[in-house]
């Protein structure tokens, strides 16, 4: 039985995970493969873009957030994927070297009618910089197995 199941995630709670630095090397590595635009690849070229300097791809930021989530609480949980993302706001550029903190708010939760043994937990995740400013905000439900009579 995983340590964290549907029952353990409490509506209204707020927790933080990290911080973890996002490096220049990983920003460029992700961008080279998935989002090769100058603003994500090259400092000099990025200076002349709307972002005014090198910044992580928004999709990289989401993937980075996913990994912080996995290491923070999904690793030993009954998580079983997600139907989608309600909204993602890329509010401010994520610069190389920023120490990112993941703030998790549990908005609400319900037992699934269509999938017996599972429940849906709705999260808001924010990635904050060292000053506590929100850079990216994601609202997303995740499916979790129930501890009692739960799926895996």
């Amino acid at each position: 039985m995983p340590r964290i199941c549907f029952e353990d995630l409490e509506e209204g709670t707020v927790d933080t995970f990290g911080p973890r630095a996002i490096t220049r090397e990983e920003i460029i590595a992700y961008a080279s493969e998935y989002d090769p635009q100058p603003m994500h690849l090259d400092e000099e070229a990025a200076r002349h873009t709307m972002l005014g300097g090198l910044a992580a791809s928004g999709w990289h930021t989401c993937s980075f957030l996913m990994r912080m989530m996995y290491d923070g609480y999904l690793k030993d949980s009954s998580a079983a994927g997600s139907p989608g993302v309600e909204e993602t706001r890329w509010l401010k550029p994520v610069r190389p070297g920023t120490q990112l903190t993941l703030r998790r708010s549990i908005l609400d939760k319900r037992v699934s009618r269509s999938r017996p043994g599972f429940g849906v937990v709705r999260f808001r995740w924010e990635l904050l910089d060292e000053a506590g400013v929100t850079l990216t905000e994601v609202t997303c439900p995740i499916l979790f197995g129930l501890r009692e009579g739960g799926g895996q």
């Binding site: 989002d35 603003m39 928004g58 999709w59 993937s63 996995y70 309600e86």
Partner: protein, 161 residues
Amino acid sequence: MTPFDEIAIGDRRELGRYTFTAEDIKRFAQRYDPQPFHLDEEAAAGSIYGGLIASGWHTASVFMKLSVEDRVRMTAEMLARGEKPVMSGPSPGFRNLRWIKPVYAGDTLTYTMEIVGKRELASRPGWGIVFARNTAVNQNGGLVFEFEGSFFVARRTTSSS
């Protein structure tokens, strides 16, 4: 890419195709989303998905990859016609992203972008924002992925200056 002024609601572009191999799915998962159903065939077979599937962020990342490749193609086509391409900017975010069906190892997705809205940016002269419905269908024609995206695009440059 095409300047803001020439982008029309209803414009559709097929962005490209991508085959998700098991190796590729696991490589992405190892780095960003190491849940068992993205990483391990045996564990995935016992999950609700019944087999190895791509991380949803992998499906989304490939959208971006094909989208950038399409903009590069679009820019080359414009230059060949003697037109003036403009810069595309970043995106402020997206809404209603749905991972409708799992993307299994070996699946080939075809991604398409359709323009659904646009407006000038009062706060940033010379730029507009464009809204698009982005989708991906698998080799069986089933819709597997969609979201409402947005991005900034520069307006047409005036040749008089």
